[in-house]
């Protein structure tokens, strides 16, 4: 574990399995403490009910066993019977309403979106977790967060349904492809905690585990600054797009008449010769190197060739950028 100097040792709140048996993970958020309190209340109540019924059933079975001589006269009127049934149904129903309320109370708190959180993008993928911090710093399967700050995960998946489950925070939520789900928490205990995928997502499901490292706020800030924020291929492509002057013609409101490229990737393009072509990577590459080969319908053949002026790697970066022009960040792989 790479921890900046001055950081409290992570294993202060370690739940990474240095013991051979663990009953409750550490409770690292106020919500976790509330959940634990409620859970132990329920264990107490349910335990009491189970014990009482066991004792009653055991007592009745022994007292009224076949061999025993005992008065077995039993008669209750229908009316009395109904009162008895009502007598035990009503308290049960009221108790159940109380249980419902106690659970709902926590749940509503846990799933109301917080104001002004640190938002971290989460992408689930068979079988890894990708995290992107607000400044663009990225990490895989390990999530660094500051203590005492509300952190909201903005979660999506690129393939199947996953689930972010952090037992030390007593909270989880499914991560769905094609849409965004949110989960927030405020960690109040330094340490390193398990992160599990909790929705079966294929063969590697049980290996889709990670760690959440709760750090002091200053340590988190230092950590963020130390991260090299690499430009993604698309970001490099955007710079190239400007540097080579492409943006001069191919941007929506430029003076020179050239096709607007936003949203073009993957779509069919009508050509001047009456045919159609899909604007895939090969088409875009050809259009950069051999612009006169496939002229888009309605445009003149006046784009210069960039053959020899631009490297293959740069072309790929520009393609990544063009792809991104229509895909919003939700679907980014």
């Amino acid at each position: 574990m790479m921890l900046p100097a001055g950081q409290t040792p992570a294993y202060l709140g370690d739940d990474l399995g240095r013991t051979i048996v663990q009953f409750l993970p550490p409770a690292a958020t106020p919500m976790a403490h509330s959940v634990d309190t409620l859970f132990f209340w329920m264990v107490g109540i349910c335990g009491l009910v189970a014990m009482t019924l066991t004792v009653v059933i055991g007592f009745l079975m022994i007292r009224y066993r076949r061999g025993k001589k005992i008065n077995r006269d039993f008669h209750v009127s229908k009316k009395r019977e109904l009162w008895i049934e009502f007598g035990w149904s009503l308290p049960v129903f009221l108790a159940f309403l109380a249980f419902f309320y106690a659970g709902a109370n926590l749940y509503v708190k846990a799933f109301s979106r917080p104001a002004d959180p640190i938002r971290i993008d989460v992408t689930g993928k068979q079988w890894m977790w990708k995290f992107e911090h607000p400044n663009g710093a990225r990490e895989i399967d390990t999530l660094h967060i500051p203590i005492d700050r509300i952190v909201e995960l903005d979660m999506t998946s690129v393939d199947v349904i996953h689930d972010v489950d952090i037992p030390a925070f007593r909270i989880k939520h499914d991560v769905l492809p094609g849409t965004h789900m949110f989960l927030w928490f405020r960690a109040t205990r330094l340490g390193t905690y398990h992160l599990y995928c909790n929705q079966f997502c294929g063969l590697g499901h049980s290996k889709m585990r990670g760690e959440v490292i709760v750090m002091k706020q200053t340590a988190y800030a230092d950590w963020l600054n130390d991260q090299q924020v690499p430009d993604s291929p698309a970001e490099k492509g955007a710079a190239l797009f400007r540097a080579h002057g492409c943006s001069g013609c191919h941007m929506g409101n430029s003076a020179i008449h050239a096709p607007d490229l936003a949203g073009i990737y993957g779509k069919p393009v009508p050509l001047a010769n009456g045919t159609m072509k899909i604007a895939d990577a090969a088409y875009i590459r050809d259009s950069i190197l051999f612009p006169s080969k496939d002229i888009a319908a309605g445009y003149r053949n006046d784009m210069p060739s960039f053959r020899g002026k631009i490297g293959e790697g740069e072309i790929q970066e520009i393609i990544s950028y063009i792809k991104k022009l229509h895909r919003d960040y939700r679907n980014e792989p």
């Binding site: 663990q22 009745l60 035990w88 159940f96 709902a104 769905l176």
Partner: protein, 510 residues
């Protein structure tokens, strides 16, 4: 196996000819329309499926002895728990009590000669067998590996091709369920003997009637859902596939709309059986007969409105989650009432402890634990912690195995003399009943603790701190396996060597 049964000494008062000896040929069995023989056909098929699924579970428990995935690969493990779940749910638990004991006893209990549609009854078995063959074919074609819940887009886009074959098998077996349900409803309505009014029906008959309604209403939804999964997988239609605009949550809603009532399809017959067991062995009428009937019907109806409690953290709205949580507590009230009524029935009874009664009492205990832990996870605020962990696994095994299978074993021993004309060995049976009770608790008790510790279900490998509890669970599974194999041995033995059963071995009065 029963074809070989001959009754050497016909006791006085017994018919010379009965359903077991009025034909020994294979044809006489495979073309029978006698509800009692059809019950046997189901019985043999279900037993076979039960032990396949049980074997899968045994290998899983062996794999989970160690944190590393060292016994089977991750692919094999996914297939083991998928096959275990699919077979246990659709090919054993759902038909378990209705298609065997329901088939055998329903006409007798209402004074009918047979089911209303004897040939549809036989057809139901053939449809079941076709579904089962499709499922077994899927095992040879690579085996399904997306879990018994078939969640999309995993099942449609990413799972093995055999997953869809298995889904087709489940689709087919659904029609068997529908046919049997239809038969039960019509039989109960139309073929009751004169004087057998609705409120004189044995509670077992009521439970068969209630479960038939559930089956008839819920199963078509499963069929539609699986059909859509199959079609969207083969033809690449969007329905559930988010990559082309479908909605995976829609699948979950439709799946649980069936699969939550399905839990009660397993449980209501079990409740019917236990009501018979408790009254017979306590020598007493059930306490609050009408309340038992109405609570059962309430469960049947209300269970259609709780499906969303499987999706508290799946992406449904907070409002839906709260409504489904509230409805779940509502449907729990009648279950609690039933437990109180069974307990009160014991009061001033004359209780004996034959094997069926041991199963009856262990049903109450295990169902109680399953029910109480169900309350815990019906609370939205606790489910967000426990959802998807071993706590859930333990909870539903207490209901489906501790509840439904225990009642099935109780029914098996209770009606064995009626069905075969032979007594089973009582001491062995009591020993097995106690072994199953101990083995069951030893297997699934530690899983509650595993869930509280945070271990997610369907994990092939796991962090080291879960090992001790997993070992305890696996050790319990050995005891449980012995408990289930014992009855198979002594019941088969008793077919030939068991004591001839007297006319009313339990001294039952109802």
């Amino acid at each position: 196996m029963s074809a070989a049964v001959t009754l050497p000494d016909v006791p006085p008062g017994y018919p010379e000819e009965h359903y077991l000896n009025n034909g020994f040929s294979l044809k006489s069995w495979l073309t029978t329309t006698d509800h009692k023989r059809i019950a046997w056909l189901f019985f043999i098929a279900l037993t076979f499926m039960f032990f396949i699924a049980g074997a899968a579970a045994t290998v899983m428990r062996a794999e989970l002895l160690t944190p590393a995935g060292d016994l089977v690969s991750d692919g094999t493990y996914s297939r083991l728990f998928s096959v275990h779940g699919i077979i246990m749910v659709w090919f054993f638990l759902i038909p378990s009590i209705p298609n065997t004991f329901g088939n055998f006893l329903l006409p007798m209990m209402i004074g009918a000669k047979d089911m209303a549609f004897p040939r549809i009854n036989l057809l139901s078995w053939y449809v079941y067998m076709i579904g089962a063959l499709a499922l077994i074919a899927s095992l040879f074609a690579g085996a399904p590996d997306a879990g018994w819940t078939f969640y999309t887009p995993l099942s449609t886009q990413y799972a093995s091709d055999a997953t869809i074959i298995a889904a087709v098998g489940v689709f087919i077996v659904g029609f068997s369920t529908i046919m049997t349900a239809l038969n039960f409803i019509v039989t109960t309505h139309r073929l009751r003997a004169p004087g057998m009014t609705w409120f004189r029906l044995p509670l077992f008959v009521w439970s068969m009637y209630g479960v038939a309604i559930l089956m008839l209403l819920a199963t078509p939804v499963l069929a539609i859902t699986l059909l859509m999964v199959t079609v969207s997988s083969w033809l690449h239609i969007a329905i559930f596939n988010p990559a082309i605009g479908g909605d995976p949550l829609l699948f979950q809603h439709m799946f649980w709309f069936y699969s939550h009532p399905a839990v009660y399809i397993m449980l209501i017959p079990a409740m019917g059986v236990v009501s018979e067991l408790i009254t017979t062995f306590a020598r007493k009428q059930i306490f609050g007969y009408e309340v038992m009937v109405f609570s059962m019907l309430m469960i049947s109806i209300a269970s259609f409105f709780v499906w969303g409690h499987h999706m508290f953290v799946a992406g449904e709205s907070t409002f839906s989650a709260l409504v489904f949580s509230l409805m779940t507590f509502v449907v729990s009230v009648p279950s609690a009432i039933k437990i109180f009524n069974w307990t009160t029935t014991l009061y001033k009874g004359k209780i004996s402890f034959d094997a069926p009664m041991l199963y009856g009492v262990s049903f109450i205990g295990l169902f109680l634990v399953g029910g109480l832990t169900g309350l815990v996870i019906a609370m939205t605020g606790l489910d967000m912690d426990l959802h998807g962990t071993y706590f859930i696994v333990a909870h539903f095994h207490y209901i489906m195995v501790g509840g439904a299978v225990t009642a099935y074993m109780g029914a098996l021993h209770y009606w064995w003399p009626k069905i075969t004309g032979r007594m089973y060995p009582e001491m062995w049976a009591r020993f097995a009943a106690i072994t199953i009770f101990i083995g069951f608790n030893a297997t699934f008790g530690p899983q509650f603790l595993l869930g509280v510790a945070g271990m997610p279900r369907r994990y092939h490998t796991y962090p080291d701190q879960f090992q001790v509890l997993n070992m305890a669970s696996s050790a319990g599974a050995i005891v449980l396996a012995v408990g289930y194999i014992l009855p198979l041995c002594y019941l088969v033995w008793s077919l030939r060597y068991g004591r001839i059963a007297p006319p009313n071995p339990w001294g039952a009065t109802g």
